[in-house]
Subunit: 238 residues, 2 copies
Amino acid sequence: MGRYQESIAVYGVKDTENALLCIGPLGPTILITMSDRRTQILDAAATLISERGFTSTSVDDVIKGAKLSGKSHFYHYFKSKEELGYEVLNRQFERFAERGLAILREPMIDPLERLNLFIDAVVALQSESGGRRGSPFGNLAAELADAHEGFRVRIEAVFERWASQIRSLLWEARPQLHDDVDAVRLSRFIIAALEGAVLMTRVKRDLSVLEGIAADLKRFIAMHLRDGAAMQHHRAVD
Amino acid sequence: MGRYQESIAVYGVKDTENALLCIGPLGPTILITMSDRRTQILDAAATLISERGFTSTSVDDVIKGAKLSGKSHFYHYFKSKEELGYEVLNRQFERFAERGLAILREPMIDPLERLNLFIDAVVALQSESGGRRGSPFGNLAAELADAHEGFRVRIEAVFERWASQIRSLLWEARPQLHDDVDAVRLSRFIIAALEGAVLMTRVKRDLSVLEGIAADLKRFIAMHLRDGAAMQHHRAVD
DNA sequence: ACAAAACAGGACCGAACGGTCCAAGTCACC
DNA sequence: GGTGACTTGGACCGTTCGGTCCTGTTTTGT
């Protein structure tokens, strides 16, 4: 069980079960295998960071959370806390975000219905933590966007993936939509409203805030329907 | 020039020019006078905290920012970093937030027009920093809502003040609005959308994100107009 | 069997943190 | 002229931080 293996010919049973298919922005497809310990650390760190933020999560906290023996054990897997943060963002959080992306891509469902399901999924995900945890991306964005360019860029990329997925969904739905719908703006609006709603929910410690905003957001989206299509959709939303 | 003076009979010229009229939640009206130095520290801290967050702003940073001679000088005015944080939130930031509240209250302007002006003011305020600084409340909320209950409560109070001001504005505008408009939900939606928009703008380093969302938000509000009133307003928005 | 990896545990480092304490000087006001 | 608030400057404290180094033992793939 190696750590990084840049070969394609890695077919061991244990190796592939933790494999992560990684399409680099420029390079070819790379198959990265991760040890169980590594994912264990990543999981523990993801939990702690989403609870207390990146700055307030110490390496020692992560070590305790992942039940490692000491610092040397941790630094055997990650060369710095920063690298840990990046990988948490890349692996754990993106995997979590892809649940939402998968819903947006679902080919058998009407696109605008998928958008509603996506919003429902955000609400459902927040419900799991009682609305206390908030969006991992939004939290890190607020904490580090000014201070740490590396994180800012990576978080921007996550939002951009959501936005582009919503844009292509809106493009798919264009027969049902008004001609003057601006997909770029609408996709940004949806993400901003959800991120803001999650933040407000966290501050108020009240899930109904998110639920109300989610419902309003669906109505806002329905506002962009062609007059003919508006009727049947307005029913479905209320 | 005392620090805290709980008497009413403080009429010295120097004393009143920095006085802050404070209506406590339960107690009577208290006249607190603040020395120049104190406000100087508060200003420096407010700047630093909005730039780097509360946790990442050290007391030494504030001392440098306010050009104090040393720690003893700082601790002559504030008994802890936490107290400093609370007072920054209470004094500097609330004063800043009240610019927005004043617009919402403006009695001579049509209520819904005021709402548009309020949104414009948020955009204008972000423009001053090129959209890099974000909302001081939103930033602190994301940073400390889980970790620090004292901050969470205070930030919640700020949002609640905004929301209640918008609610009463919507109540004032009810002749122009649909009967089924839910003022509680709509006010929350407006705040969440703006906070989310500011966050996204900060991440993308692109003010046009905020501008687009602000425009969409105005359209969303206009959606709640009575059919008769909708026409003339739709013009004004586009 | 052998090498490399993973695991364990602890000592240690320099820096930064929030905060205290002290000593001495300045200044305004009763 | 004294009292108390303000200013200056620095030493100091205990703790935590990210990170290094070192000495071993156990596991794993070949």
